[in-house]
Symmetry: C2
């Protein structure tokens, strides 16, 4: 039996597909103007957005959502102002579309150029934070794509109000509403339905917890850009600068323990462990970080807990650190290959050769030398935006800026050439 929403979703898909032509042809100037208008409207309509948000919050409290969930869901004047700032920042980014990334001439006189184009229709599936709505819609517009937004049911009213700002602004620019679509039903089956529509949608980006991402990847017939886990390592080499190693390890673990580019396991060369671990251990203990170490770590830090087998390769996302003392670089790399998630792994060393081997052999999306894993981020890399961090190798890898939302075409210009 057909679901009640099926017809309206098919209409939405058709509109999104049809809008992708006009969206792809927008000039940089028009795209910037649209985004600036959106930013202005966000500020102007703050009180009505807050009103819609309070409906979500009321339901959330009734449904007994956790305080962390409610915090993620909550909008304030400041948060809306920050959203508007974010949209202005996207408006100011260079337009990726139409850029000629390379161009060459063939012996027969053909001029071949590779030109950046949008992907088409992008589906974003996300959880409670309403700012994802604004961020993703802005980035998709800027990159000439149309977007279908499927936020969490707990943020329904907030998301609908935010999307309406986009569609209102699009209307004033005489652009089709289909540029930014919002899935009106909260029925979860609608997601499964959308994930089968590879004739309409070109890319899916799930943003949220691992369970959501795994489910999307499993069901989807559309390519998915995904990011499962950030099991990041820092390896402190025998030849590390102790002070730098201390700062980097502490920063990688403690600056924001709940995010994907925080360190989860520290590997320390056995020749430096005796000097390094007491220094770091003290600092971590003061910061309230639990340590789970192997035997040698526990010898150096008698107050540390014994690491269990599953502490290595575990994403704690908390003030907990697994530590292992290793006989050398080779074992450190082996450990990373076995337990890592190819997200971000770092070496601290003054030895050029060790750094070179680490850079070459560690196959993570970001490989760092003498820097904190916390830098693995689209903004920190200078992309001006971040759609997500891909731990896949297809299409985009690592922190993804606007470029991740684009493809390319070849232009071949001749003067009558034929093939013989």
């Amino acid at each position: 039996m057909k679901k009640s929403w099926e017809k309206s979703i098919l209409v939405m898909l058709k509109r999104a597909r049809e809008a992708s032509g006009p969206a792809s042809q927008l000039s940089s100037k028009v795209k910037s103007k649209i985004l600036k208008d959106v930013a202005a409207r966000l500020k102007k309509e703050t009180s009505s957005i807050l009103r819609e948000n309070s409906k979500d919050l009321k339901e959330a409290r009734q449904n007994g959502l956790s305080s962390a969930m409610i915090d993620r869901l909550t909008l304030t004047k400041q948060r809306i102002a920050d959203m508007a700032k974010g949209v202005e920042a996207v408006a100011a980014l260079p337009d990726p579309i139409g850029k000629v990334t390379s161009s060459w001439k063939r012996p027969n006189g053909l001029r071949i150029s590779r030109v950046v184009v949008p992907l088409g229709v992008i589906l974003i599936i996300y959880e409670s934070r309403p700012n994802v709505t604004v961020e993703c819609a802005s980035l998709c517009l800027k990159s000439g794509n149309t977007v279908i937004l499927r936020g969490g049911r707990e943020a329904f009213y907030s998301n609908r109000a935010l999307v309406k700002i986009f569609t209102d602004v699009l209307k004033t620019h005489h652009l089709p509403e289909g540029c930014v679509s919002f899935v009106q039903t909260t029925d979860r089956d609608a997601v499964d339905f959308l994930l089968k529509r590879d004739q309409d949608i070109h890319l899916v980006i799930p943003r949220g917890g691992e369970a959501l991402i795994r489910k999307v990847a499993e069901i989807s017939r559309i390519p998915v850009i995904k990011h499962y886990q950030g099991i990041c390592h820092v390896y402190v080499d025998e030849k590390a600068d102790l002070k730098k190693a201390l700062n980097i390890a502490y920063n990688a673990k403690m600056q924001r323990p709940g995010v994907c580019n925080a360190m989860e396991t520290l590997l320390v060369h056995e020749k430096i462990a005796g000097r390094f671990l007491p220094l770091l251990g003290e600092k971590l203990r003061e910061g309230g970080c639990e340590i789970r170490g192997d035997q040698k770590t526990c010898q150096a830090l008698p107050w540390a807990k014994n690491a269990q087998a599953n502490d290595y390769g575990h994403e704690f996302l908390d003030k907990i650190l697994a530590i292992k003392v290793v006989p050398g670089l080779e074992e450190a790399i082996e450990h990373i290959q076995r337990f890592g998630s190819q997200h971000t792994d770092a070496i601290v060393t003054k030895n050029r050769r060790s750094a070179d081997i680490f850079k070459k052999q560690v196959d993570s999306s970001s490989v760092m030398v003498n820097a904190s894993t916390r830098f693995s981020d689209g903004f920190q890399y200078g992309f001006g935006a971040e759609i997500g961090i891909s731990t896949d190798k297809i299409h985009a890898r690592g922190p993804m800026g606007l470029e991740g939302l684009t493809s390319y075409k070849y232009l071949v210009e001749g003067h009558g050439q034929v093939r013989s």
Copy 2:
């Protein structure tokens, strides 16, 4: 119940995955040497390859395969020599791996570089031509990937003999056999099994007819690079150079009608149709090409057949051409958007503005101006190789060279930076 082949396939997958580390680290020099050795062995062992091929041919005849299938399956001394030449050409290509494609410094002093890396394990699923075995194994080796080959059951003996040459050469270089694997069973369920193993395989490339590709895309949980159809158009504009238009249209249709970059539909501006169509029609008729035209075409070419609705957007792969007379550029572009397959579409015009509009609005993987669609090809673009032509927009689009078999990682080099 477990299939009899399941255990051996799991062993093969494990070996392929384990070999991908060493394969990714091979120097350009070693990779070239391996490929040159393979080429030498192909020539040296021609007679034993032909012997294995004759087993396939015998079975094929017993099974009543078509003469076209038998031709594709047949190896000769010349064909083996050509294979060897192909492998030498791949050996001579520049190594894509380790190339720094961009590098920049951040205000905090971090140096960020984007470096090309292999994808990992690639599965190739293909049909009867045994030369695909050699071509794909060479390209995957060159790009630092390990490969799992699943050829057609009708080419089993030939493929097995060709793969053995690779594994023998790998052994002499002390490299794991897992670099080039061959699916030993011809049970079709084994393909379905492989397509679910996204934990072991990073990319699937199906090479063959549309039915094969659709089936793979439907079942696979691994990303698929695919190419459904080449419904290529040539639009002859009002301001076309008639002689060039004639050459281009004839070449696009007739130089090799059975391939994906051959023209399937010709669009002609109504103001030039009366002069152009008789010229082209005559030439095509002499060449034995059937024409299926709209009313205006049939007025200009009384011997042409009336086009049926499904002749537009049809991939004839034969000496058959659909023709439509259009009122202008806009309608030509609309027709291409509606009926094309985003493979290759061309305009013939002297008018710069029309060319610019066509280049901007036609969203095909190759957009040509005053050149034959037949140039849409990795070799013609100067890639030195072609894995296939992608009609998708994710990862790779259009003719795919070695670059399509790679990903990248970010190297971040600092001197102790931490995030604040």
